[in-house]
């Protein structure tokens, strides 16, 4: 319940004053009519605020703020329940709850880390590789925009939107080690991994003074771009997943007993929720409901659908039947590959991405994995590492000013030219950080709490052993 006519004029003034104060300009001048107009127009354009005046609209802009709240909720929905169901459906019945518990536990754990220092380490100004502690405990992170990132979206909404990315990224990893890792080990691993891999990487790519933030940091050494997280989210989780599943080892009975998905229905529901939520992930990453968001919305749709058809067609051709898991895998692969590119490419670019996204990860999951014999249980590596790397590279070739005029600011000379080399640089940094970091953390965790359940516990199933519950009681 919020509004009454008579008093809110006062409040608007209060916000203005507060914001003015926040801007640390103690004596801003009153804006003229034209400046007031320009300010409002900036809101509609999701553009820069009129400088040096006491803005009459100092708070967030409702259209952009509303869209980012919607987007943040959508990205949470991707993990809970989206990813939980996508992964949960793919494991055996006896381990379904362990997947849900891991997703829930990661959501809780990462939120606490984010509140304490995580947000600050990523988005506060600092060094090129890590942010400072200015925003620790979310101090100063309130309803006014942080114009380093967005002129019209509340700082706290931005912080929550980014939190949702910090939740889903480690949650992706658990697909690789599903059905065979201790609950305590999973949480401990992720807790350390956030500090070693995620916070630095996210700062490097998205932090205002980040090493690889080509789009917004004019001084970035590596002029790479990553619209919604090809390196930060998918490569980091996917490559970590590979190393972790190698260290943890294969599931008992791998290759001998049937380990088919216990519920393709849940898996498909999760896929659909991921697609739905991904609009928040990709179009939300425009940080406003503007034309860049609109473009991301379109490219996301095209890539997902086309990759789904491509994967299904590949199965039909090579295996004789298009499976629901294939169609679902294609959707997810398309979304993964288009993630770094979605705000930078045209519809035509998205179609190319969709085609490759449906085929290259298909090969990784269906040919490479059996060939090499690692037990990447739910194909986190095949989809997210391969897809994320592919996406980062394709962004280098397909990004264009036409799709996003912002590319003309700091990257005029790079885009359409040597951008792909910078992308390769970012790929390299990400790959090294994720794999080396994961290997070290996994060894530490192994020493401290151990990684795997006993064979008997693994046979009984993690649900009963670690959570004392069963997924379904049908009799």
């Amino acid at each position: 319940m919020k509004l009454r006519n008579q008093v809110l004029v006062l409040l608007a003034a209060a916000w203005t004053a507060a914001a003015a104060f926040a801007n640390e300009s103690s004596a801003l001048k009153e804006p003229t009519v034209v400046e007031r107009l320009a300010d409002i127009e900036a809101y509609i354009n999701n553009g820069a605020r009129t400088p040096d005046v006491a803005s009459k609209v100092a708070g967030p802009g409702p259209g952009h703020n509303g869209w980012l709240m919607t987007s943040a909720a959508l990205v949470l929905f991707m993990t809970l329940p989206g990813l939980a169901l996508f992964y949960g459906g793919l494991v055996r019945r006896k381990n379904v709850l362990s997947v849900l518990a891991q997703c829930l536990g990661i959501a809780g754990l990462v939120t606490i880390l984010w509140w304490a220092v995580g947000y600050s380490l990523v988005f506060a100004p600092g060094t090129p590789v890590l942010g400072g502690l200015k925003f620790a405990f979310l101090q100063g992170v309130d309803g006014s925009p942080n114009t380093d990132y967005s002129a019209w979206v509340s700082h706290n909404v931005f912080a929550m939107f980014q939190l949702m990315f910090a939740i889903i990224t480690p949650a992706l990893i658990i697909g690789a080690i599903a059905e065979r890792m201790k609950y305590s080990a999973v949480l401990l691993f992720i807790g350390i991994w956030m500090f070693v891999v995620y916070f630095p990487l996210a700062h490097m790519v998205w932090g205002i003074d980040g090493l690889m933030n080509g789009a917004w940091n004019a001084n970035a050494k590596i002029k790479a771009i990553d619209f919604a997280g090809g390196t930060v989210v998918h490569m980091s989780s996917g490559w970590s997943a590979l190393i972790l599943c190698l260290i943890v080892g294969r599931r008992l009975g791998y290759g001998k007993t049937i380990m088919a998905p216990h519920s393709m229905v849940l898996c498909m529901v999760g896929t659909a929720m991921l697609w739905f939520g991904w609009y928040g992930f990709n179009a939300g990453s425009a940080l406003g409901a503007d034309a860049v968001a609109a473009n991301a919305f379109m490219t996301t749709t095209l890539a997902a659908a086309i990759a789904s058809v491509t994967w299904g067609a590949a199965e039909w051709i090579f295996k004789g039947k298009p499976s629901v898991l294939g169609l679902c895998s294609g959707v997810v692969a398309g979304l993964v590959v288009v993630t770094p590119a979605c705000g930078f490419v045209t519809a035509t670019g998205a179609v190319i991405i969709g085609l490759l996204a449906g085929f290259i990860p298909f090969l990784a999951c269906v040919k490479l994995k059996p060939l090499l014999g690692y037990d990447d249980a739910l194909d986190t590596f095949g989809v997210h590492a391969v897809g994320g790397t592919l996406g980062a590279l394709l962004t280098g070739f397909l990004a264009t000013h036409e799709a996003n005029p912002n590319l003309a600011i700091n990257l005029k000379d790079v885009v359409g030219n040597t951008l792909w080399l910078h992308q390769l640089g970012a790929i390299g940094v990400t790959l090294v950080l994720a794999t080396v970091g994961t290997a070290l953390i996994a060894l530490v965790v192994k020493l401290v709490v151990g990684l795997r359940p006993s064979p008997e516990d693994e046979t009984v199933g993690l649900d009963l052993v670690y959570h004392g519950e069963e997924g379904y009681i049908f009799e």
């Binding site: 049937i258 380990m259 088919a260 998905p261 295996k319 039947k321 499976s323 898991l325 294939g326 895998s329 999951c365 269906v366 040919k367 994995k369 059996p370 194909d379 095949g382």
Partner: protein
């Protein structure tokens, strides 16, 4: 008394039940089971992983009945359950020493009529 145990293909259950009803059989017990035999199972592929299911869903029908009805029942099941293809199933006959109807405490033939 005997127990007739028949393992049949699931989609034949309705037909067998009807045929037995017509014969006057008023009681039986049905269990979902899985059969292992000559019939080949289907193959499922999930991304790279291939599983051949060699256990096939079957239905077990159990009927306890007086000795003299055994032959008719066996014949009826054969007729109604047969498709002529591998996997049609088996019928076994076992001796039963006693039968009781819990509700009435009736014993023997009366219990199962």
């Amino acid at each position: 008394m005997k127990k007739v145990e028949a393992i049949i293909k699931p989609f034949k259950l309705e037909e067998v039940k009807e045929a037995l009803s017509e014969l006057g059989i008023q009681g039986m017990t049905i269990t979902e089971v899985e059969g292992f035999g000559r019939q080949k199972g289907h193959t499922e592929i999930y991304r790279g992983s291939e599983y051949t299911q060699n256990l096939l869903p079957k239905i077990k029908i159990e009927i306890v009945l007086p000795d003299q009805q055994v032959e008719a029942v066996v014949d009826t099941i054969i007729k109604s359950a047969r498709t002529g293809k591998i996997g049609d199933g088996k019928i076994f006959v076992l001796p039963v020493e006693e039968a009781v109807r819990i509700r009435t405490n009736e014993r023997g033939g009366q219990a199962v009529s």
